[in-house]
Symmetry: C2
Subunit: 280 residues, 2 copies
């Protein structure tokens, strides 16, 4: 069993929030994540809901800012929030940009040099981390959901659409839904995957949903005052893709909200409930 190092633990809403690190076989170095165990987990295994954060975030932002523990405790869901990339890998240039490298793993398995040696975030999220959670925390391994914000919304959609049996539910806040068609995604995919755009399709939610569909309705909240809306996020592309294959999508435009965690906190209850209904 993987050995976890406990960084810190806090009682929160009658459950326990902990920050942990471990040596990742997938990313070949230390990775960190946070787990909120609701009070119900003291007595029985509970469903688990993964949150993937956006650019520049660590495993902390969601647990500090989103106000999710209140609702995870109410609905009896375990929350897992991960870091957004490997760190301190020694790869030259990893800290040069805020939207590539450290803090910007984009939830792909890099195939291009020099990133492929450590930047295996897709396999980490889909395979290694769930195994670690199942081995160390009281979860129902057959009841997993996933959601995320911005780059992490992209990651959540891709992980869920490609692994529908593993993830019973998916939702996102202001996700990058069409990374092949926006500057953030093009920069990340060029760097991590190389210039053959055929290899990019496996990580583009708007492409994937047309090929694969998803077994249940997808919830997306998007603020209309989000400064990244038209250049980077482009929810209309995912809406069109879903419509073309009759995929149920609940895309809600929230008037006046921006890209911040104040937006996420305002609608986190709806997202937790969306997952709780699917997982309970």
């Amino acid at each position: 069993m993987t050995h976890l190092q406990t960084i810190s633990e806090y009682k929160c809403f009658d459950g326990q929030l902990g920050f942990y690190s471990h040596t990742s076989a997938t990313c070949k170095g230390e990775m960190r994540f946070a787990v909120y165990q609701p009070p119900q987990a003291a007595h029985k295994p509970v469903p688990v809901l993964y949150f993937l954060s956006g650019l520049t975030c660590t495993e902390e932002n969601f647990m500090v800012k989103a106000g999710a523990q209140r609702y995870a405790a109410e609905y009896g869901l375990m929350l897992v929030a991960t870091d957004t990339s490997p760190r301190n890998t020694g790869i030259v240039g990893e800290d040069d940009a805020w939207d590539f490298g450290t803090g910007a793993g984009f939830y792909v398995d890099a195939t291009a040099e020099p990133w492929r040696s450590h930047y295996q975030m897709y396999s980490y999220i889909v395979q290694e981390l769930p195994a670690i959670i199942a081995a160390n925390f009281p979860i129902q391994a057959d009841k997993q959901g996933i959601f995320g914000h911005s780059m992490g919304g992209h990651g959540a959609l891709v992980c869920a659409i490609r692994n529908p049996q593993q993830y019973k539910s998916v939702s996102a806040f202001a996700p990058i839904v069409a990374p092949m068609s926006c500057p953030w995604g093009q920069k990340a995919f060029s760097g991590y995957l190389g210039n053959n755009q055929d290899s990019w399709r496996a990580y583009d939610a708007s492409e994937l949903i047309k090929q694969l569909g998803y077994h249940s309705p997808i919830l997306i909240d998007q603020g209309t005052a989000d400064k990244f809306l038209t250049e980077q996020l482009k929810p209309e592309l995912f809406e069109q893709a879903c419509a073309s294959v009759n995929q149920p999508l609940n895309l809600r435009y929230q008037a006046g909200y921006d890209h911040s965690y104040y937006f996420i906190a305002s609608f986190i209850e709806d997202h937790i409930r969306h997952h709780a209904i699917a997982l309970n």
Copy 2:
């Protein structure tokens, strides 16, 4: 009217959160605060609830971490969170310690040199700031409550007990209730007020409650796993003081909780409701 500079504004729980700065006549320099206007404030004046933060905090911590906006929106209360001291005053040594000077104003009016020129936090909180809020935001000026955390719990208790007509309600998370009897308080009062301990009594909640009482029940939550409990916080001293004058006090020891904002978030709903009942 005082001119406010808007630093940033965010839609949050259908209301508006803003961060502002202004030139303080009391503290003789720039001061910052945050205001959450609940959705009700778009239509009518609402009661206002002040939050005073603890050591090292700015006007941001409470608004980012406590999850209070959710309940302020529900109960129709405006929230105001202040910075914890003047900053960049030029006073030699202001940044030398984390528990004195910058980030540690202790909500007193300093009388000792060199601090008295800027460190007038008591008058700022009780007089200047409420006037600025009343002039710039839609509040019911006769309906104000106050609460805080740690050093800010001390500040809230002192402000309320000394100004019972101004503050209709008071509560605190893990407050310093007897600063004359703990290292943090003794250091701060020696530095800001000088060595005549008679002058300290005006800022010690356990002394003040015996002299003045308070017109309504006081709510205090205190975590039992708080590492500052026995040396710095000493809620039993305030409990004894309240008992000696038959002051109603609801002191709740919360098993296993520490001194963090995860503790505050876990019980913020109860505190907002405590104030809403008194203010509505």
